[in-house]
C-alpha cells in the first residue's frame, strides 16, 4: 500500500527480523541435515559424512511403523469425532439463541486455552476414577478435546455468515432438516470444515503432553521420538521420522490456510 521510501524499515530492524526468522527455522533445517549424517551416536557439526542408509533402516524398523500407524489412526478418529461434534456445537451456538449460549461457547474453547498438562492430568484422573483402562480410545478422547475446538472455531465463523433466511428458504421450499443440511448448509460450510479438520489432524498428530497422560503402553509417533532421543544407537532414524512428520503436518496446515482464505471470497460472493 505504501511505496514511500521514508517508510522503509531501518537496517537494524531488518537484521533483527532476519535473525529472528533464522532462529525459528534453522534448527528445523539442522534436523533435516542430521537425517543424512554417517555418525549415529552424537550430533557433531559438521557431519563427518553423508549417507542415505538411515531411510532404509527406518523403513525396516517395526517400532517406527507401529508408532506411525497409531498416530495416524488416533488423528483420523479424533478428527472425525471433532468434525461431528464441532459442527453440531457451532450450529447450535450460531443459529439459535438459548440460555447459557455464551457460557457454552466459552467452555468449548477452554480446552485449547488450558495448558495441555492440565487437560492431561484432568483426563488421567477422570479415567482412573471411572476405572477406564488406558487404551487407544483414551488417547482418542484426549485428542478430541482440543480437536473439537479447532473445528468449532472454523465452523462457527462460517455459520455466522450463512444467513438464517437461507435455511428458512430451504425449509419453505419443501426440504426437511436433513435435506437442508445436505444441500444448503454443508456446501456453504464445507471448506471451513475441511480446514478445521486438517488443523485438527495436524494438532493430534504431533501432540505429546495430553498423550503421555492418556496413553498406556502404546507410543504415538511423538512419544516414540522422545523415547528414542535418550537411546545412543541409530540416532538419525529419529531425524528421518521428524522430517516425515514435518512434511506430513506442514502440507495440511498450508492447505487449510489457502482453503479458508479462498472460502472468504466464496462466501462473500453471494452478498
Amino acid at each position: 500500500m505504501r511505496s514511500d521510501r521514508n517508510n522503509a524499515a531501518p537496517l537494524g530492524l531488518k537484521i533483527a527480523a532476519g535473525a529472528g526468522l533464522a532462529f525459528l527455522h534453522l534448527p528445523i533445517l539442522l534436523i533435516f541435515l542430521y537425517a543424512f549424517t554417517t555418525e549415529e551416536k552424537s550430533y557433531q557439526f559438521p557431519p563427518p559424512g553423508y549417507t542415505l542408509q538411515w531411510f532404509a533402516v527406518t523403513w525396516n524398523r517395526p517400532d517406527v511403523w507401529a508408532a506411525m500407524g497409531l498416530s495416524v489412526r488416533v488423528a483420523a478418529i479424533s478428527t472425525a469425532i471433532a468434525l461431528v461434534l464441532g459442527t453440531l456445537c457451532a450450529a447450535a451456538v450460531s443459529q439459535t439463541k438459548f440460555f447459557g449460549r455464551e457460557t457454552i461457547s466459552l467452555l468449548v474453547i477452554l480446552p485449547i486455552a488450558l495448558p495441555g498438562i492440565i487437560t492431561g492430568i484432568a483426563l488421567r484422573s477422570a479415567f482412573s476414577f471411572a476405572e477406564i483402562p488406558f487404551s487407544f480410545w483414551t488417547i482418542v478422547l484426549g485428542h478430541a478435546t482440543f480437536c473439537v475446538v479447532v473445528v468449532y472455531n472454523n465452523a462457527v465463523a462460517r455459520f455466522r455468515r450463512v444467513s438464517g433466511s437461507l435455511i428458512e428458504a430451504s425449509m419453505d421450499l419443501g426440504a426437511d432438516g436433513f435435506q437442508t443440511f445436505r444441500y444448503i448448509i454443508l456446501p456453504n460450510i464445507g471448506t471451513a470444515l475441511l480446514a478445521g479438520g486438517m488443523l485438527a489432524f495436524a494438532l493430534s498428530f504431533d501432540e505429546v503432553i495430553v498423550t503421555t497422560f492418556t496413553a498406556g503402553q502404546q507410543s504415538t509417533l511423538p512419544i516414540w521420538m522422545l523415547e528414542e532421543l535418550v537411546r545412543p544407537r541409530q540416532r538419525p532414524v529419529t531425524n528421518v521420522v521428524a522430517m516425515v512428520v514435518v512434511l506430513l503436518t506442514f502440507l495440511p496446515i498450508l492447505g487449510a490456510y489457502y482453503l479458508t482464505r479462498d472460502g472468504d471470497q466464496v462466501a462473500g460472493g453471494g452478498k
Binding site: D172, G174, Y183
Partner: protein, 332 residues
C-alpha cells in the same frame, strides 16, 4: 373458499405480544396486504402462515387444514423473502429448481419447469448465472420464480419490493398484480408502504401493536379509517381533534378529513367551512399542499396548481362536504 384462517391467534415472545388475538380470513385468489409500521406484528403473522413460527394460542387453518404443528416443508405455501435468500452456491436454474429437486422430481423435468418459471418472470436464459451476478431487481424475480415453480396455493411476500428503487418498484407492482391475476394464486403481501398496499391489494389489514386496527378494501381503509392510527398511517388524512370537530357542529370526537376533500373558499349547500392562517405551502406537481392553523388544529388541504397559492401568514377560508368528514371510534 377460505385460503388462510386465523382464529384468536396470538404469538408472544416473552412479555412482547408480537401478535395479539388476531382474527383473519383470506379468501382464495385474493391479493391481501398486511400493512403496518415495523414491529406491528405483520411479519410475525406471515411467519405464522409460513410455519416458521407457531402460535402461542389460537387456531390457524390453511385451506381448511389445521396448520399448528405442521412444519414449513409440509405446507403448500411458499415465501418470497425480504432479502430474497437465494442460495449463493447454486446457479439461478438450480435455485429455481430447488423445491422440485427436494421433492424428487426428475432432473430433466425440474430443469424444464425452472426454465419456464424464469421465462414467466422475464429472465429467460439467466439460468447459468450465480445470484451474486444479478442486480437486486433480477434477484427479486428469481426469488419469485423459485417460489412459484412449486405451484403454491398461497404465496407469501415479505416486503418484496422494499430493497428496490422507486421506478423498479412501480414496475414490479404492476407485474406482481398481473401475475397474481393470471395465476389465480392467493397472494399475502407484507408492506409498510401504504401506497403499495392501496394500489395493489384487494383487501388490506392495518396492523399496530400486534392487533388488526382495520380490515377492508383500500377504499374503505383510506376513506373511512376506523381509528386515529389508521387515519395517520394510511395516506395523509387530517386527524381532527374533538374540539375542532364539535366546533363545526358534529358530535364531539376525533374525525378524519382527507386533504383532497377540502377546497379553497366557502360555497354550496351541505358544506362546512372553517377559517385559518396559512403556516406552510408546498408544491407537489399537480397540486399545492397548503397547511392552515384553525381553532387549535392543523389542517392540510390540496389546492389545485391552477389556483393561486395563498402566502404564508395569510388568512384563508376552506370548505368541505359534511359527508366527507369521517368520525372515528374511540380515542386511539
Amino acid at each position: 373458499m377460505t385460503a388462510v384462517l386465523f382464529q384468536q391467534v396470538s404469538r408472544h415472545f416473552g412479555a412482547v405480544r408480537a401478535v395479539d388475538s388476531v382474527d383473519l380470513a383470506i379468501a382464495e385468489g385474493e391479493f391481501f396486504a398486511m400493512l403496518g409500521p415495523s414491529g406491528s406484528g405483520k411479519t410475525t403473522c406471515l411467519r405464522l402462515m409460513a410455519g416458521f413460527e407457531q402460535p402461542t394460542s389460537g387456531h390457524i387453518e390453511i385451506f381448511g387444514e389445521t396448520a399448528e404443528g405442521v412444519p414449513p416443508y409440509r405446507r403448500n405455501v411458499n415465501t418470497v423473502f425480504q432479502d430474497y435468500a437465494l442460495f449463493p452456491h447454486l446457479s439461478i436454474l438450480e435455485n429455481v429448481a430447488y423445491g422440485l429437486m427436494v421433492k424428487g422430481v426428475a432432473k430433466a423435468e425440474r430443469l424444464k419447469a425452472a426454465e419456464e418459471a424464469l421465462a414467466m418472470v422475464k429472465l429467460p436464459g439467466y439460468g447459468t448465472r450465480r445470484p451474486g451476478q444479478l442486480s437486486g431487481g433480477q434477484r427479486q424475480r428469481v426469488a419469485l420464480a423459485r417460489a412459484l415453480v412449486n405451484r403454491p396455493r398461497v404465496l407469501l411476500l415479505d416486503e418484496p419490493l422494499g430493497a428496490l428503487d422507486l421506478k423498479l418498484r412501480e414496475q414490479m407492482q404492476e407485474e406482481l398484480k398481473s401475475l397474481q391475476k393470471s395465476l389465480g394464486i392467493t397472494f399475502v403481501f407484507v408492506t409498510h408502504d401504504q401506497g403499495e398496499a392501496l394500489s395493489m391489494a384487494d383487501r388490506i389489514a392495518v396492523f399496530n401493536d400486534g392487533k388488526i386496527q382495520q380490515l377492508g378494501t383500500p377504499e374503505e381503509v383510506y376513506k373511512r379509517p376506523k381509528t386515529r392510527f389508521v387515519a395517520d398511517f394510511v395516506g395523509s388524512s387530517n386527524v381532527l381533534p374533538p374540539d375542532f370537530v364539535a366546533g363545526l357542529g358534529f358530535s364531539k370526537g376525533y374525525a378524519s378529513l382527507r386533504p383532497e376533500a377540502i377546497t379553497l373558499g366557502e360555497s354550496g349547500p351541505g358544506r362546512k367551512h372553517f377559517t385559518g392562517r396559512v403556516v406552510a405551502a408546498s408544491f407537489l406537481g399537480a397540486a399545492n399542499r397548503v397547511t392552515v392553523e384553525a381553532a387549535g388544529a392543523r389542517v392540510a388541504a390540496m389546492v389545485p396548481a391552477s389556483l393561486a397559492v395563498p402566502a404564508e401568514g395569510e388568512t384563508v377560508t376552506f370548505s368541505f362536504l359534511a359527508d366527507d368528514l369521517h368520525q372515528m371510534d374511540g380515542a386511539q
